[in-house]
Symmetry: D3
Subunit: 299 residues, 6 copies
Amino acid sequence: MILEEIYKEEIEKAKILVEALPYIKKFSGKIVVIKYGGKAMDNDQIKKMIMQDIVLMKYVGLHPVIVHGGGPEINKMLKRVNIESKFVNGLRITDKETMEIVEMVLVGKINKEITSLINQLGGSAIGLSGKDANLLIAKKDISNGDIGYVGEIVDVNKEFLITILKDGYIPVIAPCAIGIDGNTYNVNADTAAGKIASILKADKLILLTDVAGILRDRKDERSIISQINYQDSKELLNSNLITEGMIPKLKCCIQAVEEGVERAHIIDGRIPHSLILEIFTKKGIGTMITKESYNNENF
Amino acid sequence: MILEEIYKEEIEKAKILVEALPYIKKFSGKIVVIKYGGKAMDNDQIKKMIMQDIVLMKYVGLHPVIVHGGGPEINKMLKRVNIESKFVNGLRITDKETMEIVEMVLVGKINKEITSLINQLGGSAIGLSGKDANLLIAKKDISNGDIGYVGEIVDVNKEFLITILKDGYIPVIAPCAIGIDGNTYNVNADTAAGKIASILKADKLILLTDVAGILRDRKDERSIISQINYQDSKELLNSNLITEGMIPKLKCCIQAVEEGVERAHIIDGRIPHSLILEIFTKKGIGTMITKESYNNENF
Amino acid sequence: MILEEIYKEEIEKAKILVEALPYIKKFSGKIVVIKYGGKAMDNDQIKKMIMQDIVLMKYVGLHPVIVHGGGPEINKMLKRVNIESKFVNGLRITDKETMEIVEMVLVGKINKEITSLINQLGGSAIGLSGKDANLLIAKKDISNGDIGYVGEIVDVNKEFLITILKDGYIPVIAPCAIGIDGNTYNVNADTAAGKIASILKADKLILLTDVAGILRDRKDERSIISQINYQDSKELLNSNLITEGMIPKLKCCIQAVEEGVERAHIIDGRIPHSLILEIFTKKGIGTMITKESYNNENF
Amino acid sequence: MILEEIYKEEIEKAKILVEALPYIKKFSGKIVVIKYGGKAMDNDQIKKMIMQDIVLMKYVGLHPVIVHGGGPEINKMLKRVNIESKFVNGLRITDKETMEIVEMVLVGKINKEITSLINQLGGSAIGLSGKDANLLIAKKDISNGDIGYVGEIVDVNKEFLITILKDGYIPVIAPCAIGIDGNTYNVNADTAAGKIASILKADKLILLTDVAGILRDRKDERSIISQINYQDSKELLNSNLITEGMIPKLKCCIQAVEEGVERAHIIDGRIPHSLILEIFTKKGIGTMITKESYNNENF
Amino acid sequence: MILEEIYKEEIEKAKILVEALPYIKKFSGKIVVIKYGGKAMDNDQIKKMIMQDIVLMKYVGLHPVIVHGGGPEINKMLKRVNIESKFVNGLRITDKETMEIVEMVLVGKINKEITSLINQLGGSAIGLSGKDANLLIAKKDISNGDIGYVGEIVDVNKEFLITILKDGYIPVIAPCAIGIDGNTYNVNADTAAGKIASILKADKLILLTDVAGILRDRKDERSIISQINYQDSKELLNSNLITEGMIPKLKCCIQAVEEGVERAHIIDGRIPHSLILEIFTKKGIGTMITKESYNNENF
Amino acid sequence: MILEEIYKEEIEKAKILVEALPYIKKFSGKIVVIKYGGKAMDNDQIKKMIMQDIVLMKYVGLHPVIVHGGGPEINKMLKRVNIESKFVNGLRITDKETMEIVEMVLVGKINKEITSLINQLGGSAIGLSGKDANLLIAKKDISNGDIGYVGEIVDVNKEFLITILKDGYIPVIAPCAIGIDGNTYNVNADTAAGKIASILKADKLILLTDVAGILRDRKDERSIISQINYQDSKELLNSNLITEGMIPKLKCCIQAVEEGVERAHIIDGRIPHSLILEIFTKKGIGTMITKESYNNENF
């Protein structure tokens, strides 16, 4: 038929859409918590693609939840207002003044930009901080001594998040928590995402990072460990395979899986449409940390 | 990055998925009534692709409703049980015995095959005849004289269909109606689809046919009329552009649009993934009959 | 009063209605699964009375579910299309061609006739096959060797049935199941009814048969065993009291009771209004298989 | 069959139950307001039959609402506490002391007896006075001069009654209203029933009286007018066919029909199961006042 | 500011309202069962204040349930109808005739007065007796021999009460129960309140009495025991601190707490706004019987 | 009684609570939009009192909605980052850089402080900007020429706000809107509050200001106009009674009333518990703009 000729390209596209069907079906109604941060925040094109991916996820039946970091905006603003960053053992000391700037940038700038971008792309997002409806309750994190207003999450308002998801909204969460002492605390975005995922019993926790995943050979992205169960990954922590920056991310994934999240992923957010690649294609990308020691499912 | 190299093909696929987002968003929650019949029923591969398209539609938020015809199966069975087909002016006389066979084949064979195929592909279909919950009520159609148990729909159980759609099922409807006189009536599948679409105030009525659409030059599929408003198409009816077989299909589309359906489509069901092409790509296929005389929307 | 004279007959009727009140109250909201088959299908008058009984049950607050057999229609049709019935050890071999005819007759003819009759009598029935919403899932039954597409139910879509009952419909189920291998399977209607009853935790399973019930003396219907607990009835199976045809029926009742159905009944469907007699009168009819060894309730 | 012999009587009963089906279907979900009073209150057997009828109505899907009068109990109690009944033009003067006794007897005795009897018969009744949830609001009725705390209903709490009916309860209402001046008012039970029926848009208002209905010849119950439209009945009011006691009852029926009640009935409550006769048999009893001048329906 | 001068008094009032906030928050959504009886029923001013308190409680989010006694009205009426009160060991023998008068007064007079008063004050009350919806089921109380129709509650229709509370109504309950033998029984109002509170798992049971609470020195109201746990109070029962009249009240409180009520209170109903004092002020009044041996909460 | 002596003070407080009942009843379920800004933001004690008032309002059944301004924090921050404020005709030019700082302070600081304070006081607040769920849509306001990103609200997401209110939350809204051009716009908080109130059909719009209300004599707060209808207030606009700062506030009130708000209030937010004074006391404070020309209600 001549028509098939004319529509050749469109038919190819249609086939690709239909190929996604098993994945759409598999994840329909599932909650996916996505940590968005790092270099993926700087590049406007990548940012837009990630948000498109998230809106698509929502429209085809998943429930994405976004937790974002602060990226270089915070440092830029601190510098602008002449707040000098002090460090103890490489950790920034967050005094009250710093915390105020951090909160303003995270909640008043980055959070709103993401929220707004999603809404422009056709989704319906609500930007939230941990203070809204007491979403994130924290206590002072003293695991590295007293470095100021750095918190550890002790509770998440699960009911509030579930209501928002059911109502069709995409929650975009800035990791500023309200302390049990009434102060504002900065919490690590990876850890916050992990905690939110485990409390929501999410199907997936996805950390968007600046690396390909966990590599057997740091210099070769082809050496990536595609899948590993969480117990084996504990051993990895003690090996020298894992770079310093990867350690907290892997720990966060392990804990999330231990606390009930089905799968945790470390993927490279700089890859175009990395979320779609991970969720809707057979290949998947990055490293997946699972509960089971062997995953013999077809997808 | 080397990763982008590795995932090149997948990224292209992801882009195509994302391209569908505006269409998914546009039709989210909309009802689409699809008449499935003709040669598209004979080819197993085409059949499967159509059902995949329908399942995909359901998963991404549309509400497809299928009305199917009988295809060659009915003739085959009539022959097998030695019922001779009698015709008056080219119209088959449907006596009680014929009607029984027609119903058995439509409801007990074709309907169940479609239902079953959709379920295998991951959807959740319910096969219905016009007798279930008095879904289709008919009276004798005497517009061509008394040719037996051929009916004209006088009522559709809208509430029942809406309930099924809301519950997440795909209704698959065999066009056998219950008469107001208690007899069984065969109704034309195109007309049934049109009536169901107008009662459901569907967004789209799509007739899957064996032709490219309405052509200006019957010998050239490239001469297709992509879009025409329903008043202009009435004039077409009187022209010699329209083949005999197309006349009732076009009439059916015109009536549906007059009765509140947003758009009616005549498309070639033999094209792979024709439904996806029509709904989720910019180009669209076939001929679209609309209410408005000029459609300046972007899609 | 002269009025009492005039209305003497009506008052008697009213008294009879009021006598039914305790039974209506007792079974309000309960599920009753009815296997309808055998000779009760041939007689139009009996058929109508059974359907009236079922509609009445629905209107006074019970939830009837019908599972029907095929009766002589199947054989008639097989003969008509020249399919010779082959038997092994008295069991019909159901090849693909036979299965197709069986399905067409069960789903496309008998099921629709019952559905339509109920609707004419004022109920609202939906005819279903095991393929609709994957209602009945089966695997090949090899307990008698490979005799073709004869299946054993492995799952019932309970949620779908409950939804239909709550929405006020009467489900009419043809015992054609979808195999886990994708093929169509014929399942025994008694067994299907029993399985459906136990999955729905029905209050009653009623098998409408061609005999009075289980008789102590086969030649004397007055020797009927009115009530027996399911453990005692297991012993009956080994006695010579039970005719060959009764064995699978009794087994089916025993299993249903073991799996949670309150009471299973074998009654004579040829008795006018046998269902009403069983449910709404003190006497009851047929044989009742119960969980308890002694039933001292008043009804 | 010998079984049919044995069950002959039961089968007859079953037939009678089934005969009621069209009526059950017709009135399913309909509201019926019943005024219960007069001699039908004195006879314990009749009282029980009426309450059985009402419970049966509820179980088969109607929504009965009862408004009761006081019968001779009020006079007995007034006498017992030495309150002398004073009359002006045949109307009792209801002073505060009298009103208190009337309320105590109506609300604290008769209402509770009826409520309790219904509950014993398997229904679930709630006894209410006009003061509960401000069910009946009245103003002083001065149409016969100032005769004390005799009221005219100005408002009914429809929402409250609907809630009770939906929750499955049978409301039993004593016609004591709360005045807009805060005082307690006695209202005529017939009028209260009529008002409640019209506000609820009831399908039927049934006045249970001590007479056969409206007779053409007062001495012959056979001369009863079975059906009359409300406009014709207005002319009857001016004729000498209507006895004095019947005038307010007929007026009440006419007004109810004018205000939206489908049918109003004056029937003889002393006839056993008069309500069942009226609703569930073809003959019906008493006099029916309708909107239409000619009733050609089948029932 | 001059304005602060002008509004000085109002600002003081506003402060008092705001001071109530922690208590309003604490008891939001909680059920409080209040026994209203004794001298607090005689004084119209006190009665009005108590009902205002109850309406306020409902408006600010609590769910009050009222159980009332009969006060002197019953005796007055018994005297008026010449029923001589007979006593055995100080307990009144309640024969059928007495029971009838008791019910008429409780249900037909006192209950309606309270209901009506609440409605006038802006609440929405429903007056109920134990017969409505079988709210209170009793058996004969023979703990003091056969003294007639005196009952002991064996069941409460919890679901009915919860529905009424959720619908926004204030239930006002007269302690007349329906016997399992079908007779009417008088039940002690304190005990009824206690039973209702424990079945509803109320947060508070409050007995409005004519005394300040439990006093260490009967002659000094300042010697009041403000708080005592229920085990310690059992010992009190055997001491001579408790007056005869207080014994059943204290027993009732102990039992309620044992059966799951959070706190039981004996307070002086004659104090203006005693309910508000107890619930919305820091001081509280009367004696509180608790589960815990030490209450270190802030309120 | 000695107890009355002891509880004298508490009884006085209880009386005050009860006095609020008619107001609580009157406003139960009503929406009140409160503009919070100006000097009432600087004083921590006043701020706390206002938030207490709001929490109390929510607990006693009203639905407060807060719209806040920026106060001096914005200027402080602009200064800190060396953004010079440029003015045209006294209006600040809001360029992109300024807008970014404004948004950070409003959304990331002030909004979160208010939200957090309410939550600490026992309410459950959600902080929102106009970007969340596209809450506030704006277009460029060119009524004063092009002064940058200053917007005029063209749409409010009413459904989203209603959902939040029904779920029990207090929305706290920062007046940063999303432009139809995708840019961020600063909108005047008074106007935003007015628009939100009129779209929600609020019962009250309350502007918390730094003045007593509209005064007849600017130097005497006693000369306040307590109540004026919106048509009369239009004339006021042209008089010299109104100060420059008051003009936009009064205009905003007039427009809100014209668009369906019942009452608009200009009150002095610096008065302790000014909101409680306005809503729950007879006197009321400030100036009320109403629809009706004369308000003869009792409150």
